[in-house]
Symmetry: C2
Subunit: 468 residues, 2 copies
């Protein structure tokens, strides 16, 4: 039995659903194929449940400031971690249901529940059915990396796929891999009362390459729970527990959270049958402005590319793929300014060019620490550092990196300036309301301008004001 469609979309996650949104505008003759659970990585096991856990942990952690503020009884607060995660799942379910209601719930036989495999150029198979498609959008997502050796350790090794479902919570936990997920869940679980130790093979966290931000971030988060960096972690069974070792350090824990990133599901699709040129990892060359593979009618979008595994990027990739899959000619779209936010406390954010992507001689770095910032002090969150990278030649902002209270909001403001190629002098003439966290950016920009004075012909008037 063969079914012919204009577009076959493999994967009903964020990329696939956004692709479908575009495809539907031009044709009803499509299929959306999804193996496994619906509801998107983000809503089910990613962004959303982690943010709920962080919110609870932050609210509970806040008790440490109560005495100073005249709030009594903070010592009497306790946290029931099972209740907390019931709340996490309750909110998660609301958000997952909403994804389903908006998307797959209103599909008829366009939706196929099953794992697709590529069979031949323009042909895929699912549940024994053969589907010939004018265009194929591959958006089959990713899965957490777990070393093969750890799989024998059973539920003592968890990933975000299983973490939020746990009924019993460990007293001690090693977080292995200190990217966004590891830091967010490590800090949240620590604040909820689990004895957490963090490990990363790299000598940094959250992918930070800016040494000043890296040092401040490691210092601040390391005050809450130990961070063992720069050595790969090994895990062995020891009785009911697990011994996690890295270099000279070793810790006995009830459980390990494997948070070493997500690997592409591309290996499960037999993509080679589509007749594409693949690299050693089985990955074809994808143009990130069209999401197209060579000039084939094949588009690859979302986490499966192994790049930019962030919801809004996956959504945009899905839109680009969906749009181009239904047009005769592929249109090239601009990709947005890179943003990476770790929702730890303080937030760790990287926007635009990273420190290690820039030539030190070409830039000045404007810096602001949050210790003295009025609003941060008022909030009792005056910890962190913001660094902005500015092009010496023309005073344009190139990127920024921070560990900062409300960093997620600062990151948007900065990213939107980067989108428009603004100079730091133009940015300084924008309104900075008082007392707000945005004044930290003002401080960093002023610092940069001070360092640019030798390079630039600055006007005589203060840069806060701009001649008409």
């Amino acid at each position: 039995m063969t079914r012919k469609v204009e577009v076959a979309i493999i994967g009903a996650g964020t990329a696939g659903l956004n692709a479908m949104g575009q495809v539907r505008r031009r044709t009803d003759n499509f299929v959306l194929i999804n193996g496994g659970e619906l509801g998107t990585t983000c809503a089910r096991v990613g962004c959303m449940p982690s943010k709920v856990a962080i919110q609870v942990a932050d609210d509970f952690h806040r008790r440490h400031i109560f005495e100073r503020e005249g709030i009594e009884g903070g010592d009497g607060l306790g946290l029931d971690i099972s209740e907390a995660f019931e709340h996490v799942r309750d909110l998660r379910d609301i958000l997952v249901d909403r994804v389903l209601a908006r998307t797959t719930d209103n599909l008829g036989d366009e939706f196929i529940d099953g794992y697709a495999r590529c069979a031949a150029p323009g042909v895929i198979e699912v549940n024994g059915e053969r589907i010939e498609a004018d265009a194929i959008i591959v958006a089959a997502g990713s899965r957490p990396v777990v070393p093969a050796a750890w799989q024998a350790l059973g539920d003592r090794v968890v990933t975000t796929d299983t973490l939020f479902e746990q009924e019993r919570w460990p007293r001690s936990l090693a977080v292995i891999g200190l990217g966004a997920v590891g830091l967010e869940m490590g800090q949240a679980l620590h604040r909820m009362g689990v004895q957490v130790t963090g490990f990363d093979a790299l000598d940094t966290i959250a992918g930070l390459t800016d040494p000043a931000v890296r040092n401040t971030a490691v210092e601040l988060l390391g005050k809450e729970f130990p961070l063992l960096l720069g050595q790969p972690a090994e895990v062995v069974e020891q009785g009911d527990q697990l011994r996690v070792s890295a270099g000279d350090h070793s810790v006995l824990v009830d459980q390990v959270l494997a948070s070493m990133g997500r690997r592409s599901n591309l290996d499960r699709l037999e993509l080679h049958n589509l007749g594409l040129d693949l690299d050693d990892h089985g990955m074809p060359a994808v143009d990130p402005s069209t999401m197209q593979v060579d000039s084939q009618r094949v588009f690859i979008a979302g986490d499966i590319t192994g790049e930019r595994q962030i919801l809004h990027e996956a959504g945009n990739e899905g839109r680009i793929a969906g749009y181009n899959a239904t047009c005769a000619e592929a249109t090239a779209f601009a990709r947005t300014t890179p943003m990476a936010v770790t929702f730890s406390d303080p937030n760790i954010c990287q926007v635009g060019a990273a420190f290690d992507e820039l030539e030190p001689g070409d830039i000045v770095v404007g810096e602001m620490r949050f210790g003295p910032l009025g609003r941060a002090l008022v909030m009792g969150r005056n910890r962190g550092i913001l660094r902005v990278y500015v092009n010496r030649a023309d005073a344009r902002l190139l990127g920024a990196c921070m560990v900062a209270p409300k960093g997620e909001n600062l990151a948007h403001l900065i990213a939107w300036c980067l989108e428009q190629g603004l100079t730091v002098t133009r940015m300084l003439s924008m309104p900075f309301y008082h007392p707000t966290i945005e004044e930290a950016l003002q401080g960093a920009l002023r610092d940069a301008v001070g360092k640019l004075e030798d390079d630039l012909d600055l006007p005589d008037h203060p840069l806060d004001i701009r001649p008409l």
Copy 2:
């Protein structure tokens, strides 16, 4: 005895200090004259202590979400309001000291402690000393409005000048005047356990003219404490207490917070002696782009103008005045996009053009409510509404109004877009990280675009992505 200076600055508040910063770059021959306490309205009795009180109140209020989050013992929390305000004053003192250290502490006899009066064109007098100045910068600030009849009521009527100093706190309080100060302190004191009733002669709060935002704001804040709107409040003594009446409503309270705005201190300066043309209120015409009065060597900056009584505006006015007072020709500077933020929970913010400044037929209004917004739900702060005003003719954003969680941050993002005259379509192609409060803006922009479809020739591709 006569002293001759290049520039005399009257007032060492935010405007005066920023003016001095500019003046000093060009001459040492100036005086800074200040009557009364140093430390700026903002740091001493304005932005800063109110923000600390709000932070404490918000932290205490947060206990209502604890049970849902699995945090136990929230019922056992209490607040000692005297302790809370000791914390307010402690932080306030740090911030005031910092202002002093940065400014007047390092002045010699350029600083004069006394109340200045204008004596003749180019001449002022202070402490019996006559000062002839080539240029005069008038930045003598403002004071809270208190009706004359209330002054007999003693310390049962407080303003922000006295509120933060109180040793004994009332059990009940009427807040008369529901602008930023009244709403901020009314809500904070309510949350700290004072029985608060709010009054305003207008039928709105925070100066809101957008009916939908006004209604949502009144509903949300009115759930916490009663808001009696649309009738002027009268206050009469009743035993030790005060009876506050407005229309049919009446309430007996221990204290009244008069928060009906701030009036200019211009009346205290005998400005008419400078030989300027004054209007019926004794105010000369000031060019807001130069801060100059006619073509005189007189500049007026800060709260004293009665306009834009907000720190960053006062700072910029001081900079403009200080710069122009030391230049032969006055330079006209652009004023920044209007912003007004009430730091209530949720924040109430107005950016750019206000609803009543726009012709309904010329605009579409994009709207987003925070109820369904993922991140707001996760934060337990999913209340409010954001409205964006968009020019029908060219899709440019003209203004926005909101009662919103993290509104202060959204307001910056929007203001900076307004500064650059961005269209809503360009804004939609910016990165919106997930899950963040900025996604509310995305929702409002999308709603506006939907309403613009008949007017605009929109591209075929989704607006989230932008062709290269």
